[in-house]
Symmetry: C2
């Protein structure tokens, strides 16, 4: 939980920009940069310095006039706001190709997202493992989540099964669903859903290609 729950004015747009700040600050930190002005950060990130100041002031403002931002401090604070200063227990549902790709992503464990089990309906897969993580039967889904205090379920099942899985998850103690299935589901307010609709992203690219004259 972060300290900013009482600030109802943080727009979704600002929140969506925070991971990008986090990434650039991480790269600066790796290069040994200790502090940076909003002007230099704005050039690096290709946004205006005023947007940077506005965004970060929303979170209390970590900069000091004439000094700029302390890179490590600001990165740590943004990490804390994003809730990635605490580890998350993650399960995969649907042990196919996309599941396998996600399980091999090295940056997820680095940010504290620890995959502890995968689930599938396919008898050929159950009992095997991906990257050392065992594939369990979907029969055990609810009990596993509740007994192991799982935070996040990653949904990489086909669209046709997704609604049923959402309904089952809705009755568990899961806190968040990272959904790659091509459906939008309304869940109770205590379960957060973040959708990654890959074909929609590809359509946007298609639009931008077609739109050669360029809109802003």
């Amino acid at each position: 939980m972060n300290n900013f729950n009482d600030d109802k004015n943080i727009s979704k747009h600002i929140v969506r920009r925070l991971p990008r700040y986090f990434r650039f600050l991480g790269e600066l930190s790796e290069k040994g940069v200790e502090r940076i002005s909003s002007t230099d950060l704005s050039k690096l990130m290709n946004v205006t310095a005023s947007q940077i100041r506005q965004d970060l002031n929303k979170f209390g403002g970590f900069g000091q006039q004439g000094y700029g931002y302390n890179v490590n401090h600001l990165r740590r604070e943004i990490g804390r706001i994003l809730g990635i200063d605490v580890p998350h227990k993650v399960i995969m549902i649907g042990a196919g190709n996309l599941c396998s790709a996600i399980m091999h992503y090295r940056s997820f464990p680095r940010y504290g997202f620890n995959i502890v089990a995968a689930f599938d309906v396919c008898p050929n897969k159950i009992g095997k493992d991906i990257n050392g993580i065992e594939i369990l039967s979907m029969d055990k889904l609810e009990s596993y989540i509740d007994e192991n205090h799982i935070d996040i379920a990653v949904l990489t099942v086909p669209t046709s099964s997704a609604i049923e899985v959402f309904e089952r998850l809705g009755k568990t103690s899961i806190k968040g669903i990272w959904n790659f299935a091509h459906v939008d589901i309304e869940m109770p307010n205590n379960i957060k859903v973040e959708n990654v609709h890959l074909s929609e992203s590809l359509m946007i690219l298609s639009y931008n290609i077609a739109d050669v004259e360029g809109h802003e």
Copy 2:
């Protein structure tokens, strides 16, 4: 190319909503629904009817008062605006797990995104195939793109190689890059880039979980 290049007022936000309209209209069409009012569509999509009317009026407005929208016609028009009424030739760069997952996505060929080759630097992979598509050497990247009139390159290489690949693509006739590497690169205006930063999406989910009181 679409007919709306002369309308500079189409906001990115509206464009980003079009694929979702396209998906819902496709589902209605599959169910045999021929027409729908903005009110019914708004309930289905969980947005306001006024937003639907505003969005679709931007594109000339396909609805008729008292009749609603013709589902197939509207879907076809949105598909045309998105540029997915024409096929796209696609190559994959980086033949790893994520590449394999994308190559097995059934919805991409359905929308006219046809993967014709994959590229990798790894000698063990070159000459093999994924899902029937041959893996070629990165040495052939530029000549293959230009000779085969490739529209889109999908980048699933590690972050460390991504910048070099972007630079190489910048000298080809490629029109768009669908980028899964964890970098943002500025490209010449004739090459469009659509980023899918998976770890940023997961951080947003983490924020929303931490933020249990719920912001709007």
